[in-house]
Symmetry: C2
Subunit: 317 residues, 2 copies
């Protein structure tokens, strides 16, 4: 599985001290884009369901999206898996998810560390972190400087919670609602475990072509902090965003969680992605074409709002 | 502290989605060398002593040594710190150690993740992982192909346990010997906590000049597995190593642990570094000069043995 992620630039075998990766000669004035992340308490759902092959995909896709927003195409990935007692089937399941997602993102799984740390983790539990390194030609770096007043926000649909809001979601689902992972999620066709474990989506294949065509002004990956916490980080000083609530239907899962947990709208917006996995900032003249091209690439995309003078995110009906 | 690790190639501010680092234009045919690691159960000593500013240094230095053995000079580092409940003073202490060691190794602290994961870690405990990316011109990659029969092994002194063997060391010191971290370590001038927390040494500044002068045939970082577990990984098929026991005095700490724990010689060699932090493989005609140059650079170095036909490590008196 790991071997299948190797490419022509992967120079090392697994098990060397360090992993080796040749800087692609085709990239002019290359800038490396790196990010570290974990899966957070979504892992508790994996423990509770005994399903360990999805969290590695969450991790890789999350990291890949994080460097994509600056224009980075992933080159390689390393993981860190720590547990109290190594269980071979669990480790192999987790790593298979990591390797599968690396392959899907065209990214070499260059190495990693599996640490056995007695007394650190409860039996059957573990922690998982990952590190991705990508590359972009310097002229294509997305740093907010291309964003103008009047630019259009395109939203792209998420696949469930992604990897954020799990502490609150678990409290609502297992506490307030008194459900367990095998119960059906009210209002939905899937089980609780299945719905909560929905894999965090990678937007690499649908968005990278637009980056390479220089059509993207900025990108925001909607993680912890939601749209209000993440979108402003991609905008230059003096510009804010207007998000039109009527432009999309909040997915059932978030409505169920909000109602059962009696969570206010502002908190919902801050804790959850509310169905928006990525926000793409584009020129108003290109916006319809971007929505269409994202649709052709398999995404559900729509015009979410616009960039205006000011700061932060303002919602309008 | 973090800002002080930035250099001319660091393009991003902390808090961006990903960290940005320009590939240095001065490196011809550049190969990236990457490694991920944790601190392991040495963290338990930090918890027990309440001293959290050294484990970050252990982590960075360990990672830097791991890429140095393939010829890599570190460019940047990212850390992952996970705990149940964030304690600001602990986090700041850990990160200050990471930042200090990054600065000492000329390596930018490009980003990282601090994860609060309720229910994962005992109060006051945390896990810490790190990820380093370095670079080398392809022609200077150390891959074992330069090693010849008759080459000389130069040993370089470690600073205590480094980051390996802590499960056994803790069992011996706190179990068999019945000591606590504030007690004096028998036969040594320091306290138990102080001796066990000795910072894992970085060999970057003493060894990199020799790498750049093309005088190094291979390098082995002595971590888990000891000399027999690590040295053979750097030698090509058909070659093994002879290590002369009389060439160095095993430091007091290892002798104390071995005697108190009644640990056999072979197990000691596999679990601990036995006073050898790094093994440098050089030409027999250059060996004395390498020992002298390492001495001038502040290391305690000596002729440890030689490369011979065969496989693995053979000890002789």
């Amino acid at each position: 599985m790991i071997a299948s992620t190797r490419d022509a630039n992967t120079l090392s075998e697994l098990g060397s001290f360090g992993g080796l990766y040749a800087v692609p000669a085709s990239v002019s004035d290359p800038v490396l884009v790196a990010s570290a992340d974990g899966v957070g308490t979504k892992l508790k759902i994996a423990f509770r369901t005994g399903r360990h092959d999805t969290v590695g995909q969450d991790l890789v896709n999350h990291c890949v999206n994080d460097i994509l927003v600056q224009g980075g195409r992933p080159l390689f990935f390393l993981d860190y898996l720590a547990c109290g007692e190594l269980e071979d089937t669990v480790v192999s399941s987790v790593v298979s998810g990591v390797a599968m997602a690396c392959r899907e993102n065209g990214c070499a799984l260059l190495g990693g560390e599996t640490a056995q740390m007695p007394g650190f983790y409860a039996p059957g539990e573990y922690d998982l972190a990952g590190f991705v390194v990508g590359i972009t030609p310097r002229e294509r770096l997305l740093d907010g400087s291309r964003v103008n007043e009047g630019d259009v926000l395109v939203g792209i649909r998420s696949t469930g919670l992604h990897t954020n809001g799990f502490s609150l979601a678990r409290e609502i689902v297992f506490g307030h609602m008194g459900l367990d992972v095998d119960d059906r999620m009210p209002g939905m066709s899937g089980g609780v475990g299945e719905v909560l474990l929905q894999v965090h989506k990678s937007y690499l294949h649908s968005i990278l072509p637009l980056v390479e065509q220089n059509r993207i002004h900025a990108l925001a990956h909607i993680t912890g902090g939601g749209v209000p916490g993440n979108l402003p980080r991609t905008l230059p000083t003096g510009l804010g965003a207007v998000v039109r609530r009527s432009s999309w239907e909040v997915p059932t899962l978030f409505r169920v969680l909000g109602e059962a947990g009696e969570v206010g709208e502002a908190e919902m917006d801050r804790v959850f992605n509310m169905g928006i996995g990525m926000v793409v900032v584009v020129s108003p003249t290109d916006a319809d074409a971007v929505v269409e091209d994202l649709g052709v690439a398999g995404e559900r995309a729509w015009i979410l709002g616009r960039v205006e003078e000011g700061a932060g995110v303002r919602y309008e009906p």
